[in-house]
């Protein structure tokens, strides 16, 4: 191998400073979300039409939107739903994906074939289109979006879990339990799945940034959170009309918040998953 051979791209490995900064940003955002009611100078839905589209000032640090709602207060409150919803959707995906993946690996045969055909069909829908189909059928709203995206992320998690579970199920301890007369379901639930936990969590951490991005995109399209929510994606959509009038803050403040959290999470996530994977 010559010097030209590449190691796989691992940005955070090379820049631990970036990881520290990103982690600090995330910590601040989480704190802001927790303390929103105390930190926010106004109620997120306090309408003040006399202060419509105000720029930055002492009264409104990040300006206001077209209804005169304080953008800083809205972004702080919006951090709550914008951070909790991706966790929920990944929980849905993990529950379904791990179940299907372990089932496929353990049972093999037609169960395995069925699971992989199902995932193939879902992979035939590019981008968010599978989610969009579910929303078209069951209607818009936060709950539908979270469940639909959870379902859309299931094949990815299932595929990953299947490969892990396949390797794990060949380990001697599984045979040992089986010889002791333990049933397949018990071995999986009590021993196999917990042993996969670390790797699966690492994988989910990497997916978090993308999950947040997908959810924000759905709210932006009007499929997710509905007004008067302060969800970031919805705020961008509401603020967009003002951009043409030259008031950039209403769309750019929540947009920047989304980008900042996703970037930070990707930097921290890749680094964390790397470490989790190495220790596993």
């Amino acid at each position: 191998m010559t010097a030209l051979t590449l190691a796989p791209v691992r940005v955070p490995d090379r820049r631990p400073v970036g990881v520290t900064v990103a982690a600090a940003v995330l910590l601040l955002v989480v704190l802001a979300a927790l303390l929103a009611p105390w930190l926010a100078p106004y109620a997120p839905d306090a309408i003040d039409l006399s202060a419509s589209l105000a720029g930055t000032s002492g009264d409104h640090l990040l300006g206001t939107d077209s209804s005169g709602q304080d953008l800083l207060s809205r972004v702080l409150h919006g951090a709550r739903s914008s951070l909790v919803a991706p966790v929920l959707l990944l929980a849905v995906a993990a529950l379904l994906g791990v179940t299907l993946g372990v089932l496929a690996a353990w049972r093999g045969g037609w169960t395995d074939a069925l699971v992989s055909r199902l995932t193939d069909v879902m992979y035939a829908f590019p981008g968010l289109l599978f989610t969009v189909l579910i929303i078209a059928v069951f209607g818009t709203g936060t709950t539908t979006s979270v469940l639909a995206l959870g379902l859309a992320y299931t094949p990815t998690v299932a595929k990953y879990t299947r490969s892990l579970a396949l390797a794990e199920s060949r380990k001697p301890y599984v045979d040992a339990y089986r010889i002791q007369g333990m049933g397949g379901a018990r071995i999986c639930a009590l021993h196999l799945v917990p042993n996969l936990g670390r790797a699966v969590v690492g994988y989910l951490v990497v997916l978090f940034g993308e999950a947040l991005m997908s959810l924000a995109t759905l709210s932006y399209l009007g499929f997710g959170a509905q007004p008067p929510s302060s969800d970031w994606g919805l705020m961008v959509q509401e603020g967009q009309a003002a951009v043409v009038q030259g008031a950039l803050l209403p769309a750019l403040v929540p947009g920047t918040a989304i980008a900042l959290v996703v970037v930070s999470f990707n930097v921290v996530g890749v680094w964390a998953a790397d470490r989790l994977g190495r220790q596993a």
């Binding site: 590449l6 940005v11 969009v132 399209l221």
Partner: protein, 317 residues
């Protein structure tokens, strides 16, 4: 070779059938009467309208027969009637498909030129600050959702600098180009990380082979080595990845067209869902999924033509 093509085509048809069945049968997953659902909900619903829907979708027959007839209708480009527009769905789509394809084509040109360019740069200047800047910059770009990129681009180049129009798709070649630059850029930005990374990796692998070492030892200029020996051998994975990303972009237009107020099939889909116009949503989804599967299959079939080594591997395997 013929066996490979036949197998891929069979796979293409099977996937298409399964996906179209999911899109068709989704109607039955909806709560309530499928006819009411297809007609756009209970408000302003007349018995005549309901009868039209039942006839169009053959709702009184068994599911498999319904699906067969629906698929047959779709193949004849009879996609039903939109109750919001009071128009043939096929007409709504044909009026908008051109704009969407222009947008995808423009975005493809942008991400191929910028992404492959950045990847080559990173590979040639490996382990220098240029390499880090390309990797860091494209990773950053991939972390920004396309609608946020769209708003940021509009704010800067549309509103502040006034270089580009803020909405619409423009007329004539120059007008279209002018109008679609920002939308195409927001669509392409997210793909840059993937493309440049694949390019960089493929070139690094090609650069590690013995014939490059031999060329360098016999004094071939570095430029020539990169162009004729490294890039040329790396083209297979690069072109494949570009094709796959382009196929996925059809779905990306949903967001970008909405952000820029472009009247294409992506924004048609969003509008259809927000107004409960399921026949339109169904048709656009079917078209996008079919396009996606077709392009990915095509890319797979073209791969051995681009890179004869793949053909040989397939033969020996």
């Amino acid at each position: 070779m013929a066996v490979r093509i036949a197998r891929r085509l069979a796979g293409f048809l099977a996937t298409l059938l399964a996906a179209s069945f999911v899109i068709f049968a989704a109607v039955y997953a909806a709560p309530g009467d499928p006819a009411v659902f297809l007609a756009g909900g209970r408000d302003k619903l007349t018995p005549e309208r309901l009868a039209t829907v039942r006839a169009q979708y053959h709702l009184d027959e068994p599911l498999v027969v319904q699906y067969g007839r629906w698929l047959g209708d779709c193949l004849h480009f009879d996609l039903g009637r939109s109750f919001k527009y009071g128009d043939q769905v096929a007409d709504l789509i044909t009026a908008r498909l051109g704009t969407t394809l222009e947008l995808v084509a423009y975005a493809t040109v942008l991400f191929v030129v910028l992404g492959v360019g950045a990847g080559i740069l990173a590979a040639v200047r490996q382990s220098t600050w240029v390499d880090s800047a390309v990797v860091g910059g494209t990773t950053l770009a991939a972390s920004v959702p396309s609608f946020v990129a769209a708003i940021a681009l509009v704010s800067l180049f549309g509103v502040q600098l006034g270089w580009f129009p803020v909405t619409g798709s423009g007329r004539g070649f120059a007008g279209t180009l002018h109008h679609l630059t920002l939308p195409a850029l927001s669509l392409a930005l997210g793909a840059l990380a993937l493309i440049s990374r694949v390019t960089r990796q493929a070139m690094a692998e090609a650069a590690a082979s013995d014939h490059v070492e031999a060329a360098r030892a016999s004094g071939v200029p570095e430029r020539e080595i990169v162009r004729r020996h490294v890039l040329r051998n790396a083209l297979g994975p690069i072109i494949t990845m570009c094709g796959l990303v382009m196929a996925g972009m059809l779905a990306g237009t949903v967001v970008v067209e909405t952000a820029f107020g472009i009247s294409g099939i992506g924004s048609l889909l969003v509008g259809a869902i927000n107004t409960h116009d399921f026949p339109v949503a169904q048709a656009v989804l079917l078209l996008m999924v079919a396009g996606y599967i077709a392009v990915t299959t095509l890319v797979d079939l073209l791969h051995p033509l681009l890179d004869p080594r793949v053909k040989q591997e397939a033969r020996t395997a």
